[in-house]
Symmetry: C2
DNA sequence: TTGTTAATTAGCATGACTTGCTAATTAGGG
DNA sequence: CCCTAATTAGCAAGTCATGCTAATTAACAA
């Protein structure tokens, strides 16, 4: 995502109004590598601008995504994540603290010959699961700070499957 | 997933009742590589057993997943997919017809040194996007048979992002 | 400054997907 | 064949996100 100043320029050019709400979000998203949800942005924004509506957050995020300034990341953890990092990168999900980190890979995975005859691959998404450096340090117990309010269900079962894979 | 006969055995051992509903689902899932949703299984099951409830479908799928007979696959397309193929494999999503195919990769993607110092990777998920062989054949136009009823929203925007990546 | 028009807000309804709850039914061992 | 635990159906509820309306506000241009 471009800087708030550049975005202001872009919005002006597109005849979109530079409202305080939008500017606030530009600031909150700029250089933000925490992969926030709409809800978490709403909470933070509300502190600086009480009364701002969740609807406006969704609207602005949607606009930025349409403009190619934001990447939408759905890791199946309940809510959509917003990633201002538009460079090519992949994601690492910590099974302990739930944090999502941007990572790079040495080379794109390739299909094994014969497993997809005639398939044209155009995009590859990779998600790593494991433990991030912080959670990997000794003294650090299992935290399981799930940052989703979703009730346990298929999502939880899937996470359980991942955890089983992790503990192998 | 094991065969219906083997599953029957397992259920008996676990003192779980072998109801017609469960047996029907065993059959529908056995060797099923279509990555069905709960809803689509419900529709098929309803034809053979009118009156069966969607709740029962979810329940039985959940039980099978807990027993390690099913893999849950969330590709961010709205609904959870159920995959009886428990072998290690990855997925290919056709951007044209929406089909999901099982594929293999030659080697697991590796983190680039420095991009995740101290991270312990334990599981890697890879999703390919592109066009499957059928849609890739000449004569075959854009189909966009989205098999989700979800209203256009973030999900749709994400798909749009993928399609843009595909058309580069 | 004023006018135009877009943007925001509030509030509620909807929609998709999944789970929770409860009462009624059923399977299968004795 | 009966009994009891397990299963099922059916509906309500919960989460995330969007649609819609009407009223208000505020940005920008003239």
């Amino acid at each position: 995502m471009r800087s708030p100043t550049e975005l202001a320029q872009v919005f002006r050019e597109k005849q979109l109004k530079l409202t305080p709400q939008r500017q606030l979000l530009f600031g909150l998203l700029h250089d933000n590598d925490s992969h926030p949800t709409a809800e978490s942005l709403f909470e933070i924004a509300s502190k600086q601008m009480p009364g701002i509506s969740l609807r406006t957050i969704y609207q602005t995020l949607g606009e930025l995504a349409d403009m190619g300034e934001l990447q939408l990341v759905d890791l199946g953890n309940g809510a959509m994540r917003f990633d201002p990092n538009m460079g090519e990168h992949q994601h690492f999900v910590c099974g302990s603290c739930g944090a999502i980190h941007d990572v790079d890979i040495t080379s794109a995975p390739k299909l094994r010959a014969g497993s997809a005859e005639g398939f044209a691959v155009e995009e590859v998404g990779v998600v790593f699961h494991g433990r991030c450096d912080r959670c990997n340090r000794p003294s650090h117990g299992e935290q399981i700070s799930r940052n989703t309010k979703r009730s346990p269900g298929l999502q939880a079962k899937k996470i359980k499957q991942v955890k089983q894979a992790i503990s192998n």
